[in-house]
Each structure stands twice: as C-alpha cells, then as structure tokens.
Symmetry: C2
Subunit: 136 residues, 2 copies
Amino acid sequence: MTNPTEPVTLYVCTACRDAADPADGPRAGARLLEALAAALAARPAAPVRIEAVECLSVCKRPCTVAVAAPGRWTYVYGDLDPQASAEVILDGIGLYAAAPDGLVPWRERPQEFRKGVVARIPPAPGRPVAIPPGAA
Amino acid sequence: MTNPTEPVTLYVCTACRDAADPADGPRAGARLLEALAAALAARPAAPVRIEAVECLSVCKRPCTVAVAAPGRWTYVYGDLDPQASAEVILDGIGLYAAAPDGLVPWRERPQEFRKGVVARIPPAPGRPVAIPPGAA
C-alpha cells in the first residue's frame, strides 16, 4: 500500500538548455528548478520533495522533469517552460500524489503533461500498486 | 547496497506498433516481447526478469523497453527493432546488472542504447546507489 504521508519526488533536470538561455546565465533547467522551489515554498502542505538531477537524458525536449514515489508509476515530462510551467507542474503532481498508483485520469491531467509525456515506468516489482479493498 | 542476486526488471511495451506490423498479427512490441523471452531462455544465468507492460508512453519511438532495479538508475530506450534488438538488449542489460548503480560507461553501451535512450531516472530516494568502500 502506498503511504499517503510519504512525499513524492520531483526530479528536475538542471542540464536542460534552450535557445533563450543567456550566454552567461543559468540554463533553462536551473531556472525551472528555481521557479519550482519558489512555487513549492508557497505551498507548504504539498507532499512534494524536489531533487535536482544533472541529466535525465531527455536532451531534445527541454525542460524536463520526472516524478516518482514508492508504489506509484514514474512519469517523465518534457517540453516544459522554465518559468510558466512551475505552477502547473505542481498542480499535476498534486493529482499524482493523490492517486494511490500515480495514474491520473487523462482528462484530469494538465495539458502540459498530456502533450509533454516522455515515458512512464511501472511501480517497482513487489510493491503493491493499489489499496486493498476495504483498506481505504 | 544493491543486491547482486536480485534480478533487474526489463519492462517491454507490448502496445508499440510499427509500419511493418501485419494487419491481423501481433504488434511490434508483442513480437519484441516474444523475441526477448526466447533470447532470455537461452541465457538461464542472466539476472533479468521480463515484464510485459501495456504502454510505456513512448509511442513515437517504437519499440520501447525500460530497465529498473532497486538502488539503480532506471533507463528507458526506444527505436528498437522487434527482432534484431533482442540479443543486444540482453547484452546491454547484462552490463547494467553488473553496475552497482546501473550506470554503464558510455563507450561500453551498445549503440542501440546510446542512440535510443529516451530518459533516465535516478534511484528511488533513500536507497544507497553505491557499494560502500571495502564492502565489495
């Protein structure tokens, strides 16, 4: 059974770069990380832990994030705007955190997640993916 | 510490389809699954467990697989041939299984994995990713 109090992990690729990157400034991925950290600070109850990652190997679709939690599917998303996406990413991850297996109905997913999905990976073997009947 | 006797999981997307799919036959993904099962049967010592997945959400780059194991990075690969890729996938996963954190040096990776990488995700939080000094 997934633990509803256990935070989900939001991996943010800090190596992602885009054409708008200033020559001597931080890359788009680093700017997205900063925007997400600021947005999360304004949501102290959000069950999300941000982790910077040097590279998620989705270099052709910056910016990129991944979200994972024990017992849940892992999702990777790309094509995210380093500034405008922060709030919608946290909105989408809130839905993910509320779904026992991480599977959010398609129609409820933010447009950015529908269009930007790069891959999904099943929960780790041996971990139940659903709350047993009567246990919820 | 990763457990060298614990098999890694090879997820195979059975929904992947390509232009060569027969109209009334199995999809490319299902054919890759069959080819991998046959190739793995010829390697009884390989520490690999194959798991069919309905969709890995990499629909634009068939065929697609993912490989994961506790304490290791997860990798997703696409653009794989449903027949010709089976042996090279198992070769590449053998290298992955032998690497404590799943990180195989770039030059050692099969060409199919170098070109076909779709994404990678860090090991789950709280799980050590390396064997402590002196413990190996």
